[in-house]
């Protein structure tokens, strides 16, 4: 029994000791919560990489100066496995254990909702790419979105696709049975209806499915003109496309959350050609800024995949954070969050702002271009790039 008592005493001491503040003065930790394993792994891994690039660059350039003091950035990234359960753990580790005050990247509506319920209470500022509307609004003053979501992408994407394929009248939708899928599907239904396209069926699959033949058979059952693959991650989307090819279905393929042609083409083969994607962009040519071209080359070297808007978003949020810190001359998330919507700041795209109050009741959306691309011959080709109206207006006003 004596041993047990000692054990408990040691435990109590350990618990006490861990409450002592550990953070060094000069380093500001930037957290990331994203999937780094499974079908969506490339998203999280890429996001971590670009954030680290941004942090390194800023540190080399002299760091962030606030109140006469210099700070360096350090990136801490954890795998949220795209689930709410793991997202909760990541949130608690980042915010409670690592004492992170700024999250510069978050992917996955379910894990991000979990993160948000802790971050808003703890006064932590977060930049996320979650696609649900439920994670934005005036009730979340410390939450910002730094990349496009279905509300920005779907309408222009669908419009463009139909302009290129005027004979298409019907669509079958597929989504993974998770939070992101559920939120996006609602928006997709409305968006297709707004374009006059009939939704024949809305289908769901469980994450972790390995055999997609039944799914593909169900999708093609009513012979739709278009198949919309919703928020399916690259690996899953690739297999579905392959199976659709095997069945001999030839129609218009749309993947709103499509981020790169590489995995789609690798897994889907020839069947991936022709797929319209809403979340990829050409960062290798003069359509992109020099900064983005360099990042793109780095991504190719590291991951054999070109850069996509989802991954570059954390680079942008790091720079947005730096700008807001220096403008507000503070490292207090609340002060920074108050200042951010008023700024015009530099990102990898050039100058941009936070806006979209009309849609979300609060200016939390970073205004970045919507790029529509297509898989052609296994490669991604950018078809068009749309600059948001609000951005144009703000930039003009700033002159």
């Amino acid at each position: 029994m004596k041993n047990l008592k000692q054990v408990y005493a040691a435990l109590a001491l350990a618990a006490l000791a861990s409450t002592a503040p550990v953070q060094a003065q000069e380093i500001i930790k930037l957290g990331i919560s994203a999937p780094m394993s499974g079908a969506a792994a490339v998203w999280g891994l890429g996001m971590e990489w670009t954030a680290k690039q941004a942090a390194e660059k800023i540190n080399l350039d002299g760091g962030v100066t606030v109140g006469g003091k210099k700070y360096n950035f350090a990136v801490v990234a954890y795998d949220n496995k795209y689930t709410a359960a793991e997202g909760t753990k990541v949130a608690q580790n980042l915010i409670n254990r690592d004492k992170v005050k700024f999250i510069v990247g978050g992917i996955g509506t379910a894990p991000i909702s979990a993160l948000q319920s802790l971050s808003e209470r703890s006064g932590v500022m977060i930049f996320i790419s979650a696609w649900g509307k439920s994670v934005k609004g005036p009730q979340f003053p410390l939450t910002f979105t730094q990349s496009n979501t279905p509300f920005e992408i779907l309408d222009p994407l669908y419009k463009y696709v139909l302009a290129q394929n005027p004979k298409a009248k019907t669509v079958a939708i597929l989504n993974a049975n998770d939070a992101s899928g559920k939120e996006v599907e609602l928006v997709a239904q409305k968006a297709w209806a707004a374009q006059g396209v009939k939704v024949l069926s809305s289908n769901w699959y469980e994450r972790g499915t390995t055999q997609f033949q039944p799914v593909a058979a169900k999708l093609t059952e009513q012979k739709p003109d278009i198949i919309d693959l919703g928020v399916a991650p690259p690996a899953d989307a690739g297999i579905v496309l392959k199976e659709l090819g095997v069945l001999g279905w030839k129609g218009v393929k749309v993947l709103p959350v499509g981020t790169s042609a590489t995995q789609l083409a690798q897994i889907g083969g020839a069947a991936a050609n022709g797929t319209y994607m809403g979340y990829a962009g050409d960062y290798s040519s003069s359509l992109a800024t020099p900064v983005q071209q360099i990042l793109n080359q780095g991504m190719l070297a590291q991951f054999k995949e070109p850069l996509n808007p989802l991954q570059v978003s954390s680079y942008d949020s790091v720079y947005a954070l730096k700008a807001a810190m220096e403008a507000s001359n503070s490292i207090d998330p609340k002060k920074i969050a108050a200042v951010l919507p008023t700024l015009v700041f530099e990102t990898s795209y050039g100058k941009t702002v936070f806006g979209s109050k009309a849609i979300y009741d609060s200016p939390q959306q970073m205004q970045v271009p919507v790029m529509i691309t297509q898989v052609q011959d296994g490669k991604m080709v950018e078809l068009t790039r749309i600059i948001p109206e609000e951005l144009k207006a703000r930039l003009a006003a700033a002159k």
Binding site: V7, Y8, L16, S18, T19, A114
Partner: protein
Amino acid sequence: MGNARGSTTLYVALLSLLVLGGSLFAGTGFAASLVIWVAINILLAASFRFVQLIGELNFAIAGFVGVGAYVAGVCTTKLGLPFVVALVSAALAATLLSLIVGYITLRTKGPYFMLISFAFTEVLRMVYTQIDYIGSNSGMLGVFPPVLLTDYYPTFVVAVVLLSLIVLYKIEQSDFGKVLVAIRNNDAIVQTVGINVHLTKVSCLAISSFIAGICGALLAHANNVISPDDFSFLLAVYTLAYIKVGGESHIAGPILGASVLTLLAQVAMGFGPFEHIFYGAAIVIAVLLMPDGLVGIIRKFLGLPPKPQAAAKH
């Protein structure tokens, strides 16, 4: 014997006070989360172990914890009921479900019961993902303990856990507990004495599930977010790890196993793939090298005779 019993009670009382007192200092940061996790894991392991008294591996525990968590979550967030009501409803819901399920499934034994409870947990988990009212895959958010308890939640959890452990221990030491162990050894003989073995087994599961429901409610209010994936088979596996490492033969086993594993995993190793490696290795090492867990090692250390092992093979 009287003296030894008396001093044990004294030790336990002192320890409990020490632990309770220590938890008051936990605050609201990471240390608080740690204390809560350790406490809940201890209770989970104790609940699982309780069913081992009748010789069954209750993998369905994850399912009952889930029921408790969701019922408590609904009470707090959707129905706006007081915390105590949520806690009690959670326990009762889990118990009720276990009565139904136990009545049907406890006619089977050993590996068959084990596989059924595994399948049951998965079925429940999939059912959760289909129900939008509780948030399906996105999970249920905003499950917060009442304002009064916010700063003292760790202490509250530790108090509930201590109380539950004492109750479980008392039941185990009582005549009812002895009947349970007798059933594990040879239920045919117990039947001949006129005891309704089936109903006894069902009661055992019900008691364990009551505790599991409480764990679920505490967990829900600690994490503030619950989702179907929280209550998968993996939860039962981790609970098993705590027991295997701690030792099954005494109620101190779950306490030791859960404390040691949870603290080591969180403080030393972080999580992610490490968590799987860590828990997996813990189970393998415990099963291969420490059949009676840490409790067995302590027994040897103290020179106590090893407790007679129940027949494990079917």
